[in-house]
Symmetry: C3
Subunit: 353 residues, 3 copies
């Protein structure tokens, strides 16, 4: 049984990854070809020639204007995936068209819809506006994860692991010690997990980038919109400094940590991560520091989760985990994802392949 | 279900590969040991000792005169595969004999019969006489292909791919543009595909080796004898130069391109290729040029077909290809191979293993 | 169907391998964590945290006194595997305990019981006292084998392979030529195989370490206690020199070759080997020579058995071996192992996992 939820939008790439070079990425088990038209629109179509299934992203396949030419026998397709030329004859078979995917460029991401295209327009694309907004500076990356997406969801929904796995980076004892509050908005399909530390050590990660000395008030407010988009609203301020009654918060530092968790296959994941900040906007040194340190933290997770995937692959069926309070958010996320999967299945019509 | 046709002769090696060193190759899924007797005959027997299945091609196994001694416990076999000595006792069990294979050396190849040995003598071995004949010079090689044999058959039966995959080598626009004629001789079990280009660009591959300047008449006459032997009779001449009425053709250049397509396993293939020419016979420079360039072209196919094998491995069942006119020859070849497989199955008796 | 016999003691490690670093080894398919308490006791527990199955041997997991702290979320366990701390709450779930294994340190080995722990105390641990005894000097090692344990049992029970696979090391023609006697003590569950060579060449392996010149009397007395412990009592003396009537044997050289054959998985094995001698006790040169040469011999077996495992993986079902006199001991060993497996199955209760 698949663990991948269909009929959903997923992040396929950063917009900056897609240009006039043929670009292929497997999203939810489907090999998809991305390229930009001469006018700059992102296209998304199946990365398999209809003739003998040669990948259109493989050399010597190439773009000619707004068409892509297969490198094996020269079948040629327009930006909508429809075949416009075949070798040795002028008649083009009516069925010669590539599956084409709904695609939207938003918040620095390329989103692609996996499932029944007719449902794309009515399906929510969650937002992460800071990644592409005046007043914020963002560093970002993508790390390939050789583990199922659910392991990354588990990981991010329970930040008490920061104390152990990321000790010396973003983890301090207070993270694991401070209780969390979890809220689930079933109607909106969002899980919230909050951990407000009133008086905590400042991890080097933040002291170096904000310049704060001494202890801090540290808020971690998670907002996860299954199946794909995870946001950590992070607030750091000197101890005791709170937002004003009108919501303004000039003496605090805000960091929006965004993850897009996109299944590549059942057992591998594209781990997109981005860190947006509202301070030191033009300070390259702070950008370099945050990029380097956040990537280190992401790779610590990648190493641990890749190990877990191997552990699961080798274990007997029916293995039982043991869950405690810190897992409330993760278990809620699993429940929402299962609900989405169920609803996608219920309305599924057999796919023409 | 296997895609390998049994009760057929296959090319196992070039004769030059087999000598007084133990040589093993897997043909149609069977591990076969080859060596030459002291009088020069090629032998072919199972590469598994009857005792504890140690491969006789593995060191420290070795030849002693016309016997091969297993490197694990010393079981010793004659050139007919019959055991002649065992350790620790003088009595040799009656059943101690290796499966032995009918083998024929012809046209520079070592042919081996896969299936019921009693059918070997009555089964055709197709010919490629130029490879070992006065008046012709041959360059040749073998490239391991990590793809099923049928993908190479498809590839070679439809040369319109030369224009795209081998552009700059043997492909020019005329190849893909010129229509083909296909003939199937069901009785003889041969597929013919012809493409006669009356006025075509001369690919660098040929201009450099023949010295022709300007445009050419280029004939490509394919003759495929399933399941294994593919011949491309290639004729190049200055534009308008045709053979004489008596069949002589002194002003043209002839190249016989021969492929032996031997399944190693269901998903891998030995890709034997040879190029014989009737001109510049002693010109080493032309030989070097043809060897280098033909190998480059073969490796372009190998890269593409290895990709296709991976694509097939990863795709859902029931994937549908789309075929057009250029595929007529390839589809005919598939049909003849299926017919051979059927007839082999119909007469098969359960094999004693 | 598993080929691994449960409800038995297996060698998991040399005592010298286990200290204050976390050490993990897979024994009979179970990942087991080993470490020594501050007072020096060896502990053995499951290498999977009960929370999210993170391996406790993976960094940044670490020891704190006599507890091990999981590197993912900080679950902490005592030397008995019982959880003593979890993050974010003070209540520790009653079921939070790691599976713990009966463990015994004896004859330089760490033995671990695989199966129902209640049967550990009543199950025999075979002895190899020389490895840890006054009057003997031992060299030893462990080589990972990518082959099922039964292939190593076969190999060691039939030493006629020494002549072929280990020619120039421990093999001479007399080994394969001399008949063996085999005895099976069904009650004690032990197979004995003896080969007494009255007048044999002295392999370089022994001439260099004993200083004997000329031909020797060479006895090889195998004693195998399934499923795990193999002993070769080896006696080398100048030709004609026999033990005294009272059993003393001052003019001979004795070597005890011990193998512990521990399944890692169904298809891989820990190949522990040790060579104890009662001569040249303090001669480092002899130790170096024996260590180097014995390891070479073991690796020759490893290479051959790894090949056999691959051969088995690729062969059709129902393959038939052919056995002769030399295989009597190996076949007896297989029979005893099958009997142990049957008896373990008969009494097995479904495991709670």
């Amino acid at each position: 049984m698949t663990s991948i939820v269909r009929n959903q939008w997923y992040v396929a790439a950063y917009g900056s990854e897609v240009g006039r070079e043929l670009f292929s990425r497997t999203i939810c088990g489907e090999s998809i070809l991305f390229w930009r038209t001469e006018s700059g629109e992102v296209t998304a179509m199946s990365d398999r020639c209809v003739h003998r299934r040669f990948p259109l992203s493989e050399k010597p396949s190439h773009l000619v204007g707004d068409t892509v030419v297969c490198g094996y026998h020269g079948f040629t397709y327009g930006s909508d995936g429809v075949c416009v030329a075949v070798p040795g004859q002028t008649r083009i078979p009516r069925t010669a068209r590539l599956k084409s995917y709904p695609v939207v460029e938003q918040d620095s991401f390329v989103w692609v819809f996996i499932g029944d295209p007719d449902r794309a327009a009515s399906t929510r694309i969650p937002r992460a506006p800071w990644l592409d907004q005046e007043g914020w500076t963002t560093v970002s990356g993508m790390e390939p994860l050789a583990a199922r997406a659910s392991l990354l969801v588990d990981n991010l929904m329970d930040l008490s692991h920061e104390t152990y796995l990321h000790g010396g980076y973003i983890g301090t004892p207070e993270v694991a010690e401070t209780p969390i509050t979890t809220e689930v908005d079933d109607e909106a399909g969002i899980v919230y997990v909050s951990r407000h530390m009133a008086d905590a050590a400042c991890p080097p990660f933040y002291s170096k980038s904000t310049g704060i000395e001494g202890r801090i008030t540290r808020w971690q407010d998670i907002e996860f919109t299954p199946p794909c988009l995870y946001k950590l609203h992070s607030r750091i301020a000197p101890v005791g400094v709170l937002p004003n009654d009108d919501g303004s918060d000039p003496d605090a530092f805000h960091v929006e940590v965004v993850y897009a968790i996109t299944p590549e296959t059942e057992n591998s994941t594209h781990d997109f991560w981005a860190v947006a900040r509202d301070f030191a906007l033009d300070d390259e040194e702070v950008s370099d520091f945050l990029r380097e340190n956040n990537r280190t933290v992401v790779l610590q997770d990648v190493v641990a989760l890749n190990v877990l995937e191997q552990v699961i692959a080798g274990e007997a069926d029916g293995y039982q985990e043991l869950s405690i309070n810190i897992d409330t958010g993760g278990l809620a996320a699993r429940r929402l994802i299962a609900k989405l999967a169920e609803s996608a299945d219920a309305t599924a019509v057999p796919a023409a392949r």
